[in-house]
Amino acid sequence: MAASATHHVIDAVWRIESARLIAGLTRIVGDVSAAEDLAQDALVAALEQWPQSGVPQNPGAWLMTIAKRRGIDALRRRVRLERKQQLIGSELQILARLDQSDLAAHVDDVPDDVLGLIFMTCHPVLPQPARVALTLRLLGGLSTPEIARAFLVSEGTIAQRIVRAKRTLTEAHVPFAMPGRDELSGRLAAVLEVIYLVFNEGYAATAGEHWIRPTLCEDALRLGRILAALMTREPEVHGLLALMELQASRLRARIGPRGQPVLLADQDRGRWDHLLVRRGLAGLRRAEQLSRTLGPYTLQAEIAACHARAPSVQATDWPRIVALYDGLAALTGSPVVELNRAVAVAMAYGPQAGLELVDSLATEPALGRYYLLPSVRGDLLTRLGRQAEARSEFSRAAELCDNDRERELLLARATYPDLASAEHEPKHRPPA
């Protein structure tokens, strides 16, 4: 096999094995930073050896063996360098665990290890951006440049963010373990938040020249599926996965041939991904079977399901969507949810009813610089025939929007308010 072909295979093996490898090593050495270093050492060894020797039969076990051997070497070297008589107790324990030859056993109990690692990388001791970067790096198998590209920041910034995050985890002695019953729901919420944040950055990029980045959505979906397989009894885990699958089902209908956003009302519903719709609806049923009271992700998945089941915008069950938003608003108290609710109210009961709700949100500080507030307002004003006011709302929305593609659409509507319809809006056709 040519060296470059082997490198593609090594990339693939790394994507499959890295999370389990790092998780297993973290359990053994107790420190995520040291574990990642050992895993990286093993990767380097693979890059050196596999092009000549070929890919081993069991690449995961091979990587684990090398990583453990490097760990043992490093500990022994420290004895020599620091002229210690012997290692301290905890180091001896690590050495003993690294020295265990029972490889198969380690490969077998990995699922729990991966779960332990997720709760570690999403630990509340870390700031949000650090949780995201570390999770993508250690669980998603993404490289630092890939993460930097995804979040449009420099590689140096991401590298530093990851180094600091690992140091924080070490200094705070964050244990490698599942959270206890008492703190599980809060800790799980933090994990779900990280995954959904990654998904959203792919689904509607907050900045940059692309409106959607499907690979980020895929990374989030993969994390969501892993979590759903490991925490089968948690309704909100299934709720989040259902929400992401239902939203992702629309991804390929969501951009036009020139990369421009295509909003829900204008999408060719035949291009929706029906396998994902089916999976999303099944996941939603599972979430609802597991709990009588629906959590915020399950409620959002319910809303997404209303769209997924509807053959057109006009045939959508808008009153039901309003009711679901009522529940979501009561649960979250989020002004962004209130804004979405206003859009649904406009669809169900007319633009004037929607506009009154939007206007009541105008003084909400959290929405002060949120571009969708003037965008929604402009849209409702257009439908009420108040074009001059609509234009200035779209101009204001364009000013506040950081995504190039979405801004283009808003600027176009600032000139021609009727040009395109906004999310949830029926299609406006020019008179024949």
Binding site: P59, P111, I226, D268, R309
Partner: protein
């Protein structure tokens, strides 16, 4: 990137014999691994070809041929649908499957509707959309 993995039939699958408990265990474990890695989207097994049929198209003529069909290894006995980051990753996953005895298992990338390009004209697209609306109305 989505892939379909086509599992070929065997004399046993064609005879309607269920796989051994041992093989079922190995396959369950493998499927679990696929699920826990977020790779498996869908999977199904197919009944033997004796319960199936073929329709031959010749001009305006339609000839129905009842199963079973010969050449078990050319028949599909089941499939998986996987989501993987690359073709190499799909191949790595397939290499871990508990098959043996010289069986060859095929892996094919699945078309995205966008891949049909110009062949799928706006008229065809619209027709497909209408069909979907009708199908949705029947649910």
């Amino acid at each position: 990137m989505r892939f379909m993995v086509l599992v070929p039939g065997s004399p046993e699958s064609e005879a309607g014999e269920m796989p051994s408990t041992e093989l079922l265990e190995a396959m369950t474990k493998y499927n679990e691994e696929l699920v826990k890695a977020g790779v498996l989207l869908a999977a199904d097994g197919l009944h033997p070809s004796s319960r199936g049929a073929k329709v031959r198209f010749q001009g305006s003529e339609r000839t129905v041929i009842d199963g079973p069909f010969t050449e078990a290894k050319e028949l599909v006995a089941g499939y998986w649908i996987w989501e993987c980051g690359s073709r190499e990753e799909a191949i790595e996953w397939l290499k871990r499957a508990p098959f043996g005895g010289g069986v060859e298992v095929e892996l094919r990338p699945i078309f995205d509707p966008g891949d049909f390009g110009e062949q799928l004209t706006p008229e065809l697209r619209e027709a497909n959309e209408r069909l979907r609306e009708q199908a949705a109305g029947q649910r």
